[in-house]
């Protein structure tokens, strides 16, 4: 397997990694960079647990080859909180019960981030569409919808 030198930005930090051609972005993040906040629930792009933002767009990192991320910017769940402070989306998930087992949570929160970056006060319908690629078996999604909606309110008020 030929290896490739990949340059990418992960959570604001420039990285250079030698990776085999068949390495997925999820593997690169989890195994090479130790960013295990990105979860892998299926490896086939079905569950959304491995969602990260690639240049601001949510992608299933299990379906993206590491080489495809060359020259791009990746945001993982580890890069969302600023210092000790949780990001408002994280804070809303914590407060409103949007988290149970937590396995889908990083992907959910990043999908929500991609939505709220574009749509400040999304409707229920917009929230549901934006998160429709992220499966959750624990919550029934209701508190996730509420958390995203509340995070949108807080973000558009510009406060935490």
């Amino acid at each position: 397997m030929s290896s490739h030198r990949i340059r990418l930005t992960v959570n604001g930090v420039a990285r250079e990694i030698l990776a085999p051609a068949n390495r997925t972005l999820a593997q690169l993040l989890r195994e090479d960079l130790g960013l295990t906040g990105t979860k892998q629930g299926c490896g086939e792009g079905d569950c959304g647990s491995c969602t990260v933002l690639l240049d601001g767009e949510p992608v299933n990192s299990c379906l993206v080859l590491a080489v495809q991320a060359h020259g791009h910017e990746v945001l993982t769940i580890e890069g969302l909180a600023q210092g000790r402070e949780l990001h408002p989306i994280q804070q809303a998930f914590v407060e409103l019960g949007g988290i149970q087992c937590g396995f889908c949570t990083p992907g959910m929160i990043l999908s929500a981030k991609a939505l709220l970056d574009k749509t400040k006060r999304p409707s229920q319908e917009q929230i549901r569409r934006a998160l429709s690629g992220n499966l959750c078996r624990c919550t029934g999604y209701q508190k996730i919808v509420e958390a995203v909606s509340e995070a949108g309110r807080r973000l558009s008020r510009g406060r935490r």
């Binding site: 299926c42 969302l80 396995f103 078996r137 624990c138």
Partner: protein, 792 residues
């Protein structure tokens, strides 16, 4: 009025939520040990075959391979869930019994090498007839899947309470019906994963994504020939379980053997496909019921038969076949009940326990029939149920004791909360509203192996600085929120704020806890936690009383402050000592009351580390008959739901538009978590009602072993849910608390079935409610023409 509790009943954020929201929470697959190897399994491509020969020589020779094991390399020890039905081998010796049965295990320096080695193992199989349905397995002359069970009958149950035949003679109305579901998958988001490591003294540590560290510890010790004390099972954060992770897996046990063989840590994980092939999820049930009622609607008799397609091994299935009958004992008064159940081995992945263990499909059929009975009697479905519901103090015909039962309150709550009266019978064709009730144990009354063991032991260690306490428990946080619940119970019992309690859990070295199954943790581990916290509190207050020279009875702790009744006491000297110890610290205690911190510190200074202990096991429960243990519990949760649906009459597609849900959890420990369990239960029930089905081809291979093809509810499928928490103050629960984790799923399927009937007039006896099935049922009901049965 002052709130009854300072901590309980609040909406405190979960302790683990910040770590889970930031990616810090570590799950089994996130762990790595120095020098670890990667394991992989060779699994059978045949549903039923004899193993004639296995050649591992090429695999062993592959560079980077450190261990290769087959069944012949392992001790010939059978294991399983129920000791009377140990029928599993870690790796098959002579025979494979389903596609995916484990045949060989490899450990290598990386996963790619391990997988390559698996591919180099050559197995010569002699295929046997694959028995893929209960009917085929029970047929005359069918080959035995297990030599121990000729005829392929894994278990049978025959129970009669009261006199069913005589009761039917008294009935004004008798209705019969049947219901069949499909095998389900747990579909937890985290595939099973583990790492096993032996130290140089032969002690094993196994990190695993399990719901039941204790059972895994026990099984691993038995199979590996170790004492339980030499085996430590540690559960990191677990990405959901719902039942299928409640027993030891061949994955875990193979990792242990490979680690022992190689002398290095071995990490293993199931792929998503392997999760489907291992299964242990909901059985396929074939239920038939005959229900008789008096003229006024009083329930008189139930005759019930059920066949379970169990798959290749017993797993939890003995409990399942009993639960499928016994859980109909409540929540209604039903004086006469007969149940005949059969669990059958087939050449498919083994079924086991899944949320609502054993009772879900039985409940679906029973509650569907109740609605049809209500209609024939001209009664409102809620009124019929209210008329027949038991109340606290009642005992079911099969000796289950209703120590609390908020069934009536649940029924009224969903009636009022959904606007039932304004909608039932008034919706246009294609729109429907239906309801159902549910009932479930709050912890199995007995362990899965016969034992007088405590079901939970808990230690509360008071930190030596007095700044807080640590709850140490083997209980399994799998997402349901048990860590937070135990912290809240400890905080309440000690009289301190929640932030001063930390929890360490899921580690068999911390105590005995039977695990996260049968909705047992809140009640059972909760009792032990409360007792341990009270023990610690007593030791602190006793020491403080001696220090202050007052009687113990004058002292109490609330909200982190020491209250001293009956006149002023000089706390000055004690505070002075504390301040002297903490010169330069910025958060010195102030005010006229001593803080918990000062009290706990002085107690430590007097007598060393303060450790409180607690334990719980239920009192002897249940009747004398065979199988009386299954269904017993110290308490029972109950619930009611109203579903509102719309059915596309052209396509048969069902949309659930709204759910109103009430559940009696005794006392909410954490209100947000209670609702979370209710909402999660509804989603699993909705999935089973509408979509979920593990499909097999004619050779026993799973056709849809992925989360793309096996459809669980997405966020687009879930309706708005209105959750109403009913609190009946359970006398056998800690602070009155009992289950919510599983009972809440019980009403979902029948409420949807009843709503679909209301919308279309179609009685559907097969799940899931695919459009084809619903459309066929609508046509059959002759309801497709204009002017329906009762809707203009």
């Amino acid at each position: 009025m002052a709130a009854k509790y300072d901590v309980l009943g609040s909406r405190a954020p979960r302790l683990d939520a910040p770590d889970k929201a930031t990616g810090r929470a570590r799950f089994a697959d996130d762990l790595n040990l120095p020098g670890q190897l990667y394991g992989a399994l060779l699994q059978s491509p045949h549903a039923h075959a004899r193993i004639k020969r296995i050649d591992v020589s090429r695999a062993r020779r592959l560079r980077g391979v450190k261990a290769v094991l087959t069944g012949q390399d392992l001790p010939p020890i059978l294991y399983g869930v129920s000791p009377a039905r140990y029928d599993e081998e870690v790796l098959a010796r002579d025979k494979v019994r389903h596609v995916g049965d484990d045949v060989a295990a490899v450990a290598a320096v990386d996963l790619e090498t391990a997988l390559e080695a698996v591919g180099l193992i050559q197995v010569e199989y002699e295929p046997l007839p694959a028995l893929l349905t209960a009917e085929q397995a029970l047929a005359e002359g069918a080959p035995a899947i297990h030599d121990l069970f000729p005829g392929n009958l894994c278990a049978e149950v025959h129970q009669e309470f009261g006199d069913v035949a005589a009761a039917f003679k008294q009935c004004h109305l008798i209705r019969s019906g049947r219901m069949v579901n499909k095998m389900q998958d747990g579909a937890f988001l985290e595939p099973n994963a583990c790492i096993a490591e032996f130290d140089r003294r032969g002690n094993l540590t196994l990190y695993s994504s399990t719901q039941a560290p204790h059972y895994v510890q026990r099984t691993a010790a038995m199979v590996l020939g170790l004492n339980m004390s030499q085996v430590r099972v540690v559960k990191p954060y677990v990405g959901g379980g719902f039942g299928p992770k409640a027993a030891a897996t061949p994955l875990e046990l193979a990792a242990c053997f490979l680690a022992r063989r190689s002398g290095r840590p071995v990490k293993m994980g199931f792929t998503r496909e392997q999760v489907f092939l291992f299964s242990r999820a909901r059985h396929q049930f074939f239920h038939e019921m005959k229900i008789g009622v008096a003229k006024d609607g009083t329930f008189l008799a139930l005759e019930h038969r059920c066949t379970l397609d169990g798959g290749a091994y017993s797993s939890f299935g003995i409990a399942t076949v009993y639960y499928a009958g016994s859980l109909l004992g409540g929540p209604y008064r039903l004086p006469n009940m007969r149940y005949d159940g059969w669990r059958v081995f087939t050449n498919k992945p083994a079924c086991g326990a899944q949320r609502g263990h054993g009772g879900v499909i039985a409940r679906a059929l029973f509650e569907q029939q109740l609605d049809l009975i209500a209609q024939e009697l001209g009664q409102d479905p809620i009124a019929l149920r209210l008329q027949n519901t038991m109340q606290a103090g009642d005992v079911t015909c099969n000796d289950l004791n209703m120590s609390s039962l908020g069934m009536r309150e649940c029924l009224q709550a969903v009636g009022d909360g959904s606007g039932w009266r304004g909608k039932r019978g008034r919706l246009p064709r294609g729109k429907g509203i239906g309801m159902a009730s549910g009932f479930f144990v709050s912890g199995a009354g007995y362990p899965i192996y016969r034992s007088e063991t405590y079901h939970a032991t808990v230690t509360v260690k008071v930190q030596e600085d007095g700044g807080g306490v640590k709850v140490l428990t083997g209980a399994a946080e799998i997402g349901q929120g048990s860590d937070t619940a135990m912290a809240m119970i400890a905080a309440e019992a000690l009289g301190i704020p929640l932030r001063d309690v930390r929890v360490e859990s899921g580690d068999t070295d911390l105590g005995v806890d039977l695990g996260a199954y049968s909705s047992r943790t809140t009640l059972m581990t909760g009792h032990a936690t409360k007792e341990a916290a009270e023990d610690a509190r007593e030791q602190i207050l006793q020491a403080l009383a001696e220090e202050l020279g007052v009687v113990r009875g004058r002292l109490s702790i609330r909200r982190g402050r020491v209250k001293i009744a009956g006149g002023p006491v000089d706390i000055g000297p004690l505070r002075g000592r504390y301040l002297k110890e903490h010169r330069g610290w910025t958060d010195q205690p102030t005010g006229r009351e001593l803080s918990f911190r000062e009290a706990a510190r002085v107690a430590y200074l007097r007598q060393g580390t303060i450790v409180g202990t607690g334990k719980y096991k239920p009192p002897p429960l249940g009747g004398e008959y065979k199988g009386a243990a299954v269904g017993t519990s110290p308490a029972y949760g109950c619930s009611a739901q109203v579903a509102e649906v719309s059915v596309d009459l052209e396509t048969g597609q069902v949309f659930v538009e709204r759910i109103t849900d009430a559940h009696d959890c005794g006392q909410a420990v954490n209100r947000t978590s209670v609702e979370g369990q209710m909402e999660g239960s509804v989603s699993m029930g909705l999935g089973e009602a509408l979509f979920e089905e593990v499909k097999f081809d004619s050779k026993g291979r799973v056709l849809n072993p992925s989360l793309g093809e096996y459809h669980i509810p997405t966020i687009m499928d879930m309706p708005q849910m209105k959750c109403i928490v009913v609190e009946s103050n359970e006398p056998n629960g800690p602070y009155g608390a009992k289950e919510v984790g599983e009972g809440a799923i019980m009403p979902t399927i029948p409420a949807i079935l009843n709503a679909v009937y209301d919308a279309t007039g179609a009685v559907i006896d097969e799940l899931p409610l695919t459009p084809e099935r619903v459309l066929a049922a609508i046509k059959k009901a002759g309801q497709n023409k204009k002017g329906g049965r009762r809707k203009g």
